[in-house]
């Protein structure tokens, strides 16, 4: 199984430990992981603005970098959702379609492809809560959205339950958007910040020490708000918890 690691730009620059954890974790399951070094960005920021012209170049490069792999795995729901569902600024050749179909979000990949059923090395002795991003829930379907009626499932939670010592606490509004929304967090700053603050409030009410998420972009926004407000909450990527570090 030939797997390419897709490390979105902000993880590369701000949260390399999430990338490292993803890389190590995949190797633990005997997967051959390659990291195409010329990768930049999937084009999501531009595409989300509706800017097709400026997304096209990023999309083309993405396909060049990731063509030919069995799986492309990225530890970021919103970027993966973009590739899978919105990557349409360039002509949809067979190559483009294959790259899109082979791209997986990390939790999905662990849960659905590797069918992980034990994480004997993982130990995390904290009270934590899970923030699945909107892209992961409503876009990729890693958990049952609260709006839809049907049997409950939550793939991130399923994996976290295998981590020794971890106490998962529930939230009052578990899948309410945190207000990051890409450029939204700057162009609609007041609403974005209030949504983030309400999220932080929810964490504090439920006495979480750590916030664990498969999407670091949401956490970047939430962490910024918590720090500014002087609130001591810790934010961490799910790969770090599942891999047992680096912390």
């Amino acid at each position: 199984m030939k797997v390419a690691l897709f490390i979105p730009c902000y993880i590369d620059a701000i949260y390399p430990e999430a990338g490292i954890a993803t890389y190590e974790l995949l190797q633990r399951f005997g997967v051959t992981v390659e990291y195409p070094p010329n990768q930049t960005c999937c084009g999501q920021p531009m595409a989300n603005e509706g800017d097709q012209g400026n997304s096209a170049a990023a999309e083309k490069l993405f396909v060049q970098n990731f063509s030919g792999y069995d799986y492309i795995v990225g530890p970021a729901g919103s970027c993966v959702k973009h590739v899978k569902q919105h990557f349409d600024a360039i002509p949809q050749t067979d190559e483009v379609k294959a790259v899109r179909a082979n791209t997986w979000e990390l939790v999905e990949f662990l849960h659905d492809v590797l069918r992980v059923d034990a994480l004997p090395w993982a130990y995390f002795r904290y009270k934590a809560t899970l923030h699945n991003s909107c892209s992961s829930i409503r876009g990729l379907g890693i958990a049952q959205p609260s709006e839809l009626m049907g049997p409950y499932f939550n793939k991130s939670e399923h994996l976290l339950r295998m981590v020794e010592g971890l106490e998962l606490v529930p939230m009052d509004r578990p899948d309410e958007c945190c207000g990051f929304g890409g450029t939204f967090c700057v162009t609609d700053e007041a609403v974005s910040a209030k949504m983030g603050l309400d999220k932080i409030d929810d964490y504090i009410r439920n006495e979480a020490e750590f916030i664990i998420s498969p999407d670091m972009s949401c956490l970047m926004h939430q962490q910024g708000i918590a720090r500014k407000a002087g609130i001591d909450l810790k934010f961490i990527h799910i790969a770090q918890v599942l891999n047992g570090g680096p912390f």
């Binding site: 993880i11 620059a13 490292i20 603005e49 509706g50 990023a58 899948d175 209030k194």
Partner: protein
């Protein structure tokens, strides 16, 4: 002259900044409605199937609209109603005016109708000397405060009881310090009674119009539409062309979905069927297009016509809850507003599609399965193509587009950006105009080593290890 562009982000900031009472109450009240909706939906095992069927019925009807509209006209006419066709708001308002004027009617009482709102009917009639009284409590509050409704089901939900007490004290002389909802409600009821009795005509909208029977259905919780239709001799109903359902048996699906989605109640208190004029009365039905057939022709957006105006997408929308409906500066607010309003004026409402995080909750909550969130993104594409994007945003993304397309440039910039962040003085980063991120947020700390750098080192080390004997 082009209408001034609405700036929902700035309006929402003002709503948030006014005090610590309005926005939290607004958020909590609407969230409570969403929770009640979840409970009501959960109690129906076939909920998702109902949504599917409702969506299919709407799609079928919308793609055979001409045939069902004619059928409705024929059947309603048989029952003694008079049918009028209106292409746009002007024709709609003219029909209403003609009916009133011919009968020398100078005051009307109306129940909630988003279509009449869309047409600016009240203002049109008032300038012609007609007294118009809203009979829905929330609408009446908004009318007395000179504001349009902020929510399609709960028009005054952005107001607190204290706000309402103040408005009523001025308008009908209640005690400004008494904020008890029962007291205020009763006072308004007394005031409205007289107006019902004096009105020369009652106006309603319609939630559904049934082609097979020529009947239309109005759902309310206050029964105000019923008095409006029953007391004055003349009843005028404004019905949008998309309200048609083929058969009476279709209705059950929608009645089960509507109130559960809206407020989490099993049904509205009143579900009234109007089948022709009552004895000695007149029934006038104005079937109105006002941009709907144009929307029907838009491949990317015609699904928005399935909307049954339940407001669930507004209740669930995390951005709407923090913004208040008036921030959208349009007849329709919230997610459904974002996708409807630009069909009326693309330039004026070009910023609305950006007032969303694209979280997708609206799509999943919508009882008729409108792909609201996807349509919001598609509207962004329209706005970007037509160059409605603010210039600063466009330039930033042109630059980003160039950088992302060239790896060496990208990795260079990445290092420069993190270097700059380490040295830039705090005041610059927290400057309101330069960096909105920093006002409520601490900037992220850039890592000492990027993942790429780590990986290169790691690989090198691995190779060295392997080479060692």
């Amino acid at each position: 002259m082009a209408a001034k562009r609405v700036d929902p982000a700035a309006n929402a900031a003002a709503f948030l900044d006014q005090d610590d009472i309005h926005e939290p109450a607004h958020d909590q009240n609407l969230w409570a409605a969403r929770m009640k909706r979840d409970a009501a939906a959960k109690a129906i095992p076939e909920w998702e199937e109902l949504r599917n069927i409702a969506s299919q019925i709407k799609e079928h009807t919308l793609t055979h609209l001409d045939q069902y509209l004619e059928q409705f006209e024929a059947n309603a006419t048989k029952r003694g109603a008079k049918i009028y066709w209106a292409r746009d708001a002007a024709e709609h308002n003219q029909h209403v005016w003609n009916i009133l004027n011919e009968r020398k009617i100078s005051s009307i009482i109306k129940s909630k109708s988003m279509l009449q709102e869309e047409c600016g009917m009240t203002q049109f009639l008032e300038t012609r000397g007609i007294t118009v009284t809203e009979s829905d409590l929330g609408e009446r509050i908004q009318q007395l405060d000179n504001q349009p409704p902020s929510h399609i089901v709960m028009p005054a939900i952005h107001k607190t009881p204290a706000d309402i007490a103040k408005i009523f004290s001025k308008a009908i002389g209640t005690d400004p310090d008494n904020t008890d909802p029962h007291y205020l409600n009763e006072a308004m009821r007394e005031d409205a009674r007289k107006r019902f009795l004096q009105a020369g005509a009652g106006m309603t909208g319609a939630n559904f119009a049934i082609a097979e029977t020529g009947t239309f259905v109005v759902c309310t919780n206050e029964g105000n539409a019923d008095i409006g239709a029953a007391v004055p001799r003349v009843h005028i109903a404004s019905i949008g062309i998309e309200k048609i359902l083929p058969k009476v048996t279709d209705l059950g699906i929608f009645i089960r979905l509507l109130s559960r989605s809206a407020l989490g109640t099993l049904a509205t208190q009143y579900t009234s069927h109007f089948s022709g004029p009552r004895k000695g009365g007149e029934l006038h039905i104005i079937i109105t297009d006002n941009g709907r057939s144009k929307r029907l022709g838009m491949d990317d957006f015609w699904h928005s016509l399935k909307c049954i105006r339940c407001g669930a997408c507004m209740n669930t929308c995390p951005v709407y809850r923090r913004s208040g409906g008036l921030s959208y500066g349009a007849t329709y607010s919230g997610p459904i507003g974002i996708i409807l309003d630009p069909t009326f004026d693309e330039s004026k409402y070009s910023e609305l599609p950006y007032h969303s995080t694209l979280c997708g909750s609206c799509t999943d909550v919508c009882p008729v399965k409108i792909d609201i969130s996807d349509q919001i993104l598609r509207w962004r594409k329209v706005m970007a193509e037509k160059k409605y994007l603010p210039i600063s945003r466009r330039l930033a993304f042109t630059a980003a587009g160039r950088i992302f397309e060239r790896p060496t440039l990208f990795h260079g910039v990445e290092t420069v950006a993190s270097a700059a962040l380490k040295i830039t003085p705090h005041f610059l980063l927290y400057n309101r105009a330069l960096n909105p991120w920093g006002r409520h947020r601490e900037l992220p700390h850039f890592a000492k080593q990027t993942f790429r750098e780590w990986f290169m080192q790691y690989k090198l080390k691995n190779q060295e290890d392997k080479q060692q004997p």
